[in-house]
């Protein structure tokens, strides 16, 4: 159950939405797509779903192209909404479940199970438009995974959810992965991707800027952060050779460095000025990498 995207390019007229995308997602793993708006994430998802055909390259699921015959194995959560506003939650979920090949009885059982799990059983007979955005999002998530798909594609699954519900949803997704499903999702939230995904891609303007496992991505980035907490002014340390950038915070500052050797210089210099309360060499966060990669493109 491997999803393979090989040399995929998608053009709309003169506009290249996705440019030579390559990636392989193993069964039971979670893959994160990061990218600003218009980076080509949704187009990529639509190609995976078979709604759009790539101009070049191909998308293979389990060695075969995705077609309507495989649709019961796939769950899709489109970005925002994706439900009939006027239909009742249960009717709607039964309808969508049946479309994915479930029987009415199975659909009802799955709906009861998931509504209970997401702690919203009381909404079964409400119309979707009556629910809050967060609760609509939960119903939409149920619609995408109630039929136990083998491949789950989630476009911005956490948008509009409060922290408690984000945890609830994360647990559900992790359970799904542990049961062997392959999960692809996109997010603006770096922390979610960092926490959940073994592998990721950062996209910008249709190009894949960074690709690989979280550890590889961080290692290949080459830069590290040094966090120093101190009561005296640290700004002069920014002039040390090898320091790319400095950000001051209330308690001290964070320095971005190219080489771990620079960290020693930083520490010696800092200690020479006075006592420090905290010193740490950190892996770069995904946020830093994203901003460094995509921010450069934008500028």
């Amino acid at each position: 159950m491997t999803l393979a995207i090989a040399n995929v390019t998608k053009r709309f007229g003169d506009f290249t939405a996705v440019d030579n995308l390559n990636l392989t997602i193993e069964q039971g793993s979670m893959y994160g797509f990061l990218g600003a708006n218009g980076a080509g994430k949704t187009t990529t998802f639509r190609m995976i779903l078979g709604l759009l055909t790539p101009n070049e390259g191909h998308v293979l699921w389990n060695g075969k192209p995705i077609s309507y015959a495989t649709s019961p194995q796939i769950g899709y959560l489109p970005e925002e909404r994706g439900l009939y506003p006027k239909m009742k939650v249960e009717d709607q979920l039964i309808f969508l479940g049946q479309l994915r090949g479930m029987s009415k009885g199975d659909a009802k059982r799955a709906i009861a199970h998931w509504l209970a799990r997401f702690e919203v059983p009381q909404y079964a007979s409400k119309r979707v438009e009556e629910l809050s955005k967060g609760n609509q999002q939960k119903i939409q998530v149920i619609a995408s995974l109630m039929h136990d798909p083998k491949l789950l594609i989630l476009d911005e699954p956490f948008s509009g959810l409060d922290p408690v519900n984000v945890e609830m949803l994360k647990d559900a997704i992790i359970d799904f992965r542990n049961n062997g499903a392959t999960i692809v999702f996109s997010s603006h939230r770096m922390d979610h991707v960092e926490e959940l995904c073994e592998q990721l891609s950062i996209m910008s303007h249709g190009k894949q800027l960074v690709q690989g496992s979280l550890r590889e991505v961080k290692r290949n980035f080459g830069k590290k952060n040094v966090r120093i907490k101190s009561d005296f002014d640290l700004t002069n340390l920014a002039n040390i050779a090898g320091v790319n950038e400095m950000k001051t915070s209330l308690e001290g500052a964070v320095f971005q460095i190219d080489d771990e050797a620079v960290a020693n210089t930083l520490l010696t210099n800092a200690l020479a000025q006075g006592p420090i309360r905290h010193f740490e060499i950190e892996e770069p966060s995904l946020q830093d990498i994203f901003i460094a990669k995509v921010g450069k493109e934008h500028a």
Partner: protein
């Protein structure tokens, strides 16, 4: 095929269960019952409001003999009003009429040369007592003049005997007068139903498709079922809804007419006993064809917009087509043999109304409606094929698309 039925059922059931659908259907059914019993209703209403007052006509007459004569005539024939002699003078009566105390009054005088001169003054628009009074006065004057000329009763009758005059249309395609009168009403009613249903249901389809697009359900739907299947399931599902509604209205109409308490000419008229049953068959055929033609077009147009607010603007050209068809067909009710009607009846977007009107009012050779039906079927086929191509891409298009130019873009996207 399974997905087709799921979407078909969903399109049908969610609409059929809405309050607005149930309520409008019930209101229309009540309306039909009311219309077919309109004479009874009017009688009941006038009984209740007790318009007895209005049935007395005040006469201002100086001549006693003349008043007696009029009273005599009123008794002889069955006029449904009585007369009473005014006590006031003319000016007082006029004031009373103006103040609405009196419906009407008539001043009748006999001139020196035995001519009757009458002035009928009323404040009401719907008053037939004047005409009846005129009839009576005419009779009295005729009698007086006959007497003066010493004519016998028989001689007078001979003098006033009406000519035997009968009108017959011997054109091959014309129907008899009785037939035509009833056919005209039936065709008018059915034409209106077709017009109304086509506008209502094709609008519903366009809105449905746009709703699915704007709520992004569409992406989920077309990832499990092909857009073409989805489009046709939708069109047929909503079509079924229309058929059910029309059957309900038709049955109500049929039962109401059969059990209608209306008597006399109107009652006879409403039995439609002289109407060719083929008119009804054509009505059903043109209803279905008209619906599928416009519904396919509506689905195509609906797939191009991404916001519900833009639907009306997008389907405007289509709505105008239906309205033009309706106006042309209406213009032919009076004279269905006009040449332009013949040409219009073969234009597929006009056929459901114009050809139906012609086939209902004229005895057309069989090939004419059949040819029009064939043209429509072909057009529906082409539109379905073309619509499916636009739809495939249209449903994936987002952004401010609200012009017909986007059709090209949609086809392009659908191909990729």
């Amino acid at each position: 095929m399974r997905e087709f039925w799921i979407i078909f059922k969903q399109a049908f059931m969610t609409k059929a269960k809405t309050k607005s659908f149930v309520i409008t259907t019930i209101i229309m059914m009540l309306g039909i019952v009311l219309m077919t019993n309109i004479t009874t209703v009017i009688d009941k209403v006038s009984d209740l409001t007790g318009s007895g007052e209005a049935d007395t006509l005040t006469l201002l007459i100086e001549d006693d003999a003349l008043y007696q004569n009029i009273a005599q005539h009123l008794n002889d024939k069955s006029y449904d009003f009585t007369i009473k002699r005014a006590k006031q003078d003319e000016q007082a009566l006029i004031d009373e009429v103006k103040k609405d105390k009196l419906d009407a009054f008539a001043k009748v005088e006999l001139t020196t040369d035995e001519q009757l001169v009458a002035t009928y003054q009323t404040s009401s628009m719907m008053d037939d007592k004047g005409a009846m009074l005129q009839e009576i006065l005419q009779a009295i004057q005729t009698e007086k003049q006959a007497e003066k000329l010493s004519l016998t009763q028989t001689e007078v009758q001979t003098l006033f005997a009406p000519v035997q005059f009968e009108e017959k249309n011997i054109s091959a395609s014309a129907k008899s007068e009785a037939e035509l009168g009833q056919a005209r009403v039936l065709v008018y009613v059915l034409m209106f139903l077709i017009y109304f249903a086509v506008i209502l249901y094709s609008g519903m389809i366009a809105t449905e498709v746009a709703t699915e697009k704007s709520s992004r359900v569409m992406e989920i739907l077309i990832s499990s079922v092909s857009p073409v299947k989805h489009m046709f399931a939708k069109v047929i599902g909503i079509g079924m809804l229309g058929i059910v509604q029309m059957i309900l209205l038709g049955l109500t109409g049929f039962i109401a007419v059969r059990t209608s308490s209306a008597t006399g000419d109107i009652g006879e008229f409403m039995k439609f006993s002289d109407v060719n049953p083929m008119t009804l068959v054509y009505g059903v055929i043109f209803f279905l064809l008209g619906y599928f033609l416009y519904a396919t077009l509506a689905a195509l147009l609906g797939s191009l917009v991404s916001r519900i607010e833009d639907v009306q603007q997008m389907i405007m050209p289509m709505t105008i087509l239906i309205v033009i068809a309706f106006i042309i067909a209406m213009s032919g009710l009076g004279n269905p043999e006009l040449a332009y009607l013949k040409w219009a009846s073969y234009f597929p977007f006009f056929t459901p109304l114009v050809m139906f009107m012609r086939v209902g009012l004229l005895d057309l050779p069989m090939w004419e409606p059949l040819l029009a039906i064939a043209i429509m079927l072909i057009t529906i086929g082409i539109l379905g094929w073309f619509g499916a191509r636009v739809y495939r891409g249209g449903v994936l298009m987002y952004g401010p698309s609200r012009s017909l130019k986007d059709i090209k873009k949609a086809i392009q996207l659908g191909k990729e």
